[in-house]
Assembly symmetry: C2
Homo-oligomer: 309 residues x 2
């Protein structure tokens, strides 16, 4: 495969979009599309659908493909989409990635195969290489998804180096959800000049990330607070930046006191006045009533809202 | 759902059957059937296809359903099959489990959903309950698969208690691959009388397991050493038992010095004189040549063979 031609890459605030479920636990494409539209008009530059916060691994490949199709049919431009396409099984990762490229998505955000632990960089490189070769399309922009506390399978700098050497232009960047700023900084220093775009996995690192060369962030709380997070992204060079960063960190801190995914859904349910949004798929469980009251009360106390939801 | 009627449960040595791959990494049903036949005539009482050692999570649902169908079409009785049907996504676990029940399999061996870590027993109970309810068939025999070092999601005694209370007869037992004999013993003491059949996940615990009420074992090395392991199962009350146990432990110790799954495949490749068997799917990698030489040399030194392969 030839090196891919340079083209504009996605930058800014991306939301790992939460996935609504009906009473029978089936995904709800209508609510999904509505939430995606709200996110796009509220500050998000892109939609990292099918991430950890999307309960993506609790969805079958078919369910994800249907939701992706629903978004595109609803007029959401594929150029703002960065679907999660990683999977434990090579054919699943290939099927998802192939469809994302066919639709013209901005990129794909790929978990490593996450069942076996302690696997080698050689094994992971073979996995990602097989996906790239089988998709076989220079339009592919592959972002590596590093979230070791959940996946149990870290992405090492050596693995990035190896993949960048082999697929420059196609291996386009990473989301770093390690929560370890030293790791994010090390990647920025080592790889940013090679066209490898690093997105911290939390807006807690957005300002320091931008100062060090990050391209935005992909953060859970962008689901509920996209506008304020986008203001930090757009104004990181301004004298206001520290204050804006402190505000989004304060909001995040409130939500982080309870389990994140059900919290995002409970907050969305509250501000959309739509209790259906609370539902999660097992093995997750909804926020307890007391936890939900606490989060909502604390968010209101700092003036938080979700305007236009 | 009513409590299921009593019927004979599978007991003995089960192999988590290794999965052969062709050059293009597609599963190879012919070699798979051949190996299953060899296992069944060499001492295995059952075939726990689609386990950890089968690289099952590296296969798509469709690939697994095709392999299962190939076995049944080839005349392997469904009554000896205990396919792995666990998955991160509820619809995948339901699809696999439903088909296993429809075919008349002895049971299913279910991993918990293993992407999210630190999930609650409530969330896991909801997951397993949803699968049982959606399959909705009293013929289902569900064995819980506890392999925390790989899955990252342990099965607690409290979860077992809760599921046994709700689905007696259907929740039929567990494979304990914790490698922690205290855990296996605790489960036997607490649950064996309730019709909950415990299988240690390694033949290292077979003799002490049988003495404490286990029903056999489901072990990686049953792929290559089924006859000797079965002799321990059949003769655990005999004066020879300790000696037979020591022999299978010695064989296991040799294989355990290197990565288990590629080792099982390399040993099979050697004794079948069929190098195709060495192949694994990424993220696993084949045994290095030196490792393979070491394992084969040491196995031959203790008189190991795979007669009739």
């Amino acid at each position: 495969m030839k090196p891919a031609a340079t083209r504009t890459r996605i930058e800014g605030v991306l939301a790992p979009v939460i996935t609504p479920f009906r009473r029978d636990l089936a995904p709800d494409p209508d609510r999904f599309v509505r939430h995606c539209r709200w996110l796009m008009r509220s500050g998000c530059a892109g939609l990292a659908v099918f991430g950890t916060n999307s309960e993506a691994n609790s969805l079958s490949v078919e369910e994800k493909l249907e939701l992706l199709e629903a978004l595109v049919k609803a007029g959401i431009p594929a150029s703002v989409l960065m679907p999660g396409t990683g999977a434990c099984a090579l054919p699943d990762a290939v099927a998802m990635t192939r469809e994302a490229v066919r639709l013209g998505c901005a990129g794909v955000l790929m978990l490593p195969p996450f069942y076996y632990k302690g696997v080698s960089d050689e094994g992971l490189a073979r996995f990602f290489s097989e996906v790239i070769e089988r998709v076989g399309d220079e339009r592919l922009r592959l972002y590596l998804y590093h979230i070791p506390a959940v996946s149990g399978v870290p992405i090492s700098a050596e693995l990035i180096e190896r993949l960048l050497d082999r697929y420059p232009g196609i291996v386009a960047g990473a989301k770093d959800s390690s929560g370890d700023w030293q790791n994010t900084r090390a990647w920025l220093e080592r790889f940013a000049e090679r066209g490898f775009d690093v997105f911290p996995g939390s807006e807690a690192f957005l300002l320091q990330g931008m100062r060090a060369g990050a391209k935005g962030c992909i953060s859970a709380t962008a689901n509920i607070n996209p506008g304020a997070i986008d203001r930090v992204f757009r104004n990181w060079r301004s004298p206001e930046a520290e204050k804006l960063q402190a505000a989004i960190a304060a909001t995040r801190a409130i939500v982080q006191k309870v389990p994140m995914i059900p919290a995002l859904k409970a907050v969305t349910a509250h501000f959309a006045n739509d209790p259906e949004w609370r539902r999660v798929r097992p093995p997750l469980v909804e926020l307890a009533a007391e936890q939900q009251r606490q989060v909502i009360t604390e968010l209101k106390a700092v003036g938080f809202s979700m305007p236009g939801l």
